[in-house]
């Protein structure tokens, strides 16, 4: 049966040729390490989010009167609904952690520099969209936590002069977080962001395959320091075949991703579901002790510390701009961060600040 299907596909799409060119002849650098598989793990993480999200979509009702009840029904009445919701919640947070780690390692290994500027920018945009996914999905359960967290976050644009109030109103669909906000966030979460994200992911994967995987600077020297006058694909003729060498590494990372996710679901089921997440939204009752998700804690704390809020937000936007356009700003030919003390110092200072602000915001 298997052979028949294979033959059927062979005569139609040239399966063997695909296998040879895309898996066996496609080579990766000899000194490639496990950190290179984080991007693939993140991609699988997105697939998990899509599958679990579609399952939740079947039962979820995007209406203020029913949203909370429908989520509770998913948790208690729908067979294995709890599992899909937990996968979606824990998976979402793990995904953000994986993407952050992926970008961190790409940065540290200098793999953002030419000719991979577009790959970096695409990845950065995907990270921002992932944050917006997190923000928009946060409101959907219509709990006290989600309602009040969104009330605070959606007021941030109003710190801008002239366009601020209008932007905040467009965001919320009015002066308050209401059913209109829920509809907008729902549409954003399930219909507007996914196609944009898919396009960026397609572009990202295409660029990686087209340009070729960058060799890590911690090992052999890189010939990419040559003047960039013509397109030359990095083929790594002396490297390992993608299959099975790198494929096994990727599969190992995916299994670890799953193991960590189910570890959190088993032993820390309420890590992302505090009591306020289990209480229906009440616009008349402001709960205490509500904080944004961990990945927004650092910007939140920074905004609290800077007295001029517009200035605080501007600084953050500038940092995002620098982060996105870094490959264009970094003119040094040396890729290895170990040989660049200034960049290393600034990078670790920013990282330590981000971690410190996150903990400060939490406690």
């Amino acid at each position: 049966m298997g052979k028949k299907i294979e033959d059927w596909l062979e005569v139609r799409i040239g399966l063997n040729d695909l296998r040879r060119t895309q898996l066996l002849e496609y080579r990766v650098p000899k000194n490639i390490n496990l950190l290179y598989t984080l991007g693939f793990a993140a991609m699988i993480g997105y697939v998990i989010q899509v599958i679990s999200g579609i399952f939740l979509l079947i039962y979820y009702i995007p209406h203020p009167g029913y949203a909370f009840g429908s989520v509770q029904d998913i948790m208690s009445k729908v067979p294995y609904g709890w599992l899909f919701r937990q996968i979606h919640i824990v998976g979402g947070n793990l995904l953000i952690a994986t993407v952050l780690l992926h970008m961190l390692t790409v940065f540290l290994m200098g793999n953002y520099s030419r000719p991979r500027e577009l790959t970096w920018v695409g990845g950065g945009l995907m990270l921002i969209i992932t944050f917006i996914f997190g923000l928009s999905g946060y409101l959907l359960p219509w709990s006290q936590l989600s309602y009040w967290a969104t009330t605070v976050v959606s007021s941030i644009p109003s710190a801008f002069p002239i366009i601020g109030d209008a932007t905040a109103r467009i965001f919320k669909g009015g002066d308050q977080v209401s059913g209109t906000t829920l509809s907008r966030f729902f549409a954003l979460h399930v219909a507007i962001l996914p196609p944009i994200f898919l396009f960026l992911m397609g572009l990202h994967v295409f660029l990686i395959r087209r340009i070729g995987i960058s060799a890590t600077p911690f090992g052999m020297s890189d010939d990419e320091k040559r003047p960039l006058t013509e397109f030359r694909k990095k083929t790594h003729t002396d490297g390992h075949p993608f299959y099975p060498y790198f494929f096994q590494k990727m599969m190992f990372m995916v299994m670890m991703y799953g193991a960590v996710m189910f570890f959190a679901i088993t032993f820390l089921p309420t890590l992302f579901l505090p009591v306020e997440a289990n209480t229906p939204a009440d616009p008349l009752k402001t709960p205490s002790h509500i904080k944004p998700e961990w990945y927004f804690l650092a910007p939140y704390q920074m905004l609290k510390l800077i007295p001029n809020k517009f200035f605080g937000i501007s600084i953050q936007l500038i940092l995002i701009g620098i982060f996105l356009l870094w490959p264009f700003l970094d003119s040094q030919k040396e890729k290895n961060i170990l040989k660049r003390p200034v960049l290393r110092g600034v990078f670790f200072f920013l990282l330590a600040t981000w971690i410190a602000l996150t903990f400060w915001g939490r406690y």
Binding site: L83, S155, M251, P269, A277, N278, F310, F311
Partner: protein, 283 residues
């Protein structure tokens, strides 16, 4: 490209520094919400009764109320005494429904505004009849106290309190009649708390337990031992149904834990197999 970015930074930074100060809505939403610290609600009753200008004999009221069951359930001064806590000048105006301190004989009606079932049973009881006949029978505050009102429990029935008016013998028999159901309700309350901390939405179960508790405790206010004993079976059955439901939820939680632990081990195991396989010598 770099110069373009520098220009963009300058365009954003210069006006942002110039536009110092807060935007009104941002300040209202971001800085006044709990994210930026505890929210303080204005309450004229609490403000005045806590201030140094208040007579010492009235100042303890706020402290006592703060540790009460009412405070824990957001029942504030105006819920019982009327008035308008948002408007200091009119806070004690009869036109805003201010009642103030009720007379002794009016206490049951004062509390019975909310505790309707209990009031009915109390009025039909020996306690209520004594008040009606002599104006000196026990009222709510005789057993429950004022302001520092604890959560109802059978510990309120004790020799010290009951013997203020009569012998403890009858009260002891009442306490024995109540014990089984009260203990069951106490255990179930603890279980509900555990379920809530495990992320289970228990509002429906809490409502069901609360209504059974209220009904049972209202029954107690008849101070009729034989009636309480007679109805104990009904309440035990009612509670058993709810308890079964809760135990099923606990079993479901155990299943969930085991199932996700199985999936975790499955992924970890497959990871180990892939790792070992990748280390095997290839042809």
């Amino acid at each position: 490209m770099r110069y373009l970015l520098y220009l963009l930074i300058a365009i954003i930074l210069v006006p942002s520094i110039a536009a110092a100060g807060y935007r009104e809505e941002f300040e209202r939403e971001f800085l006044s919400k709990p994210w930026a610290g505890e929210q303080v609600e204005v309450d004229a009753c609490i403000g005045c009764h806590s201030s140094d200008t208040m007579k010492q004999e009235y100042r303890w009221i706020v402290e006592n109320w703060k540790s009460s069951w009412h405070a824990q359930n957001n029942i504030s001064c105006h819920d019982c005494h009327g008035g308008d806590p948002k408007d200091a000048a009119m806070s004690m105006s009869p036109s805003r429904g201010f009642i103030g301190t009720p007379k002794y004989a009016e206490v049951p009606d004062f509390c019975g505004k909310c505790h309707i079932g209990i009031l009915k049973n109390y009025l039909e009881s020996g306690h209520g009849k004594a008040l009606k006949a002599s104006g000196r029978g026990p009222v709510c505050i005789t057993c429950h106290g004022t302001h520092r009102i604890d959560k109802a429990s059978i510990d309120i029935i004790n020799e010290q309190t009951c013997t203020k008016c009569h012998s403890y013998d009858r009260a002891r028999r009442m306490k024995q009649a109540l014990f089984v159901v009260e203990k069951k309700m106490g255990d179930m309350e603890r279980d509900l708390k555990t379920l809530r901390s495990e992320g289970i939405f228990v509002d429906e179960k809490e409502r069901s337990l609360f209504s059974t508790q209220a009904e049972f405790r209202a029954l107690f206010h008849t101070v009729d031992v034989s009636l309480v004993s007679e109805r104990t079976d009904d309440f035990t059955k009612k509670l058993s149904i709810l308890d079964k439901n809760m135990q099923d939820t606990f079993a479901e939680l155990r299943f969930r834990k085991n199932f996700s632990a199985f999936l975790m081990l499955l992924f970890a195991g497959m990871g180990v197999i892939i790792f070992i396989y990748s280390k095997l010598p290839k042809e």
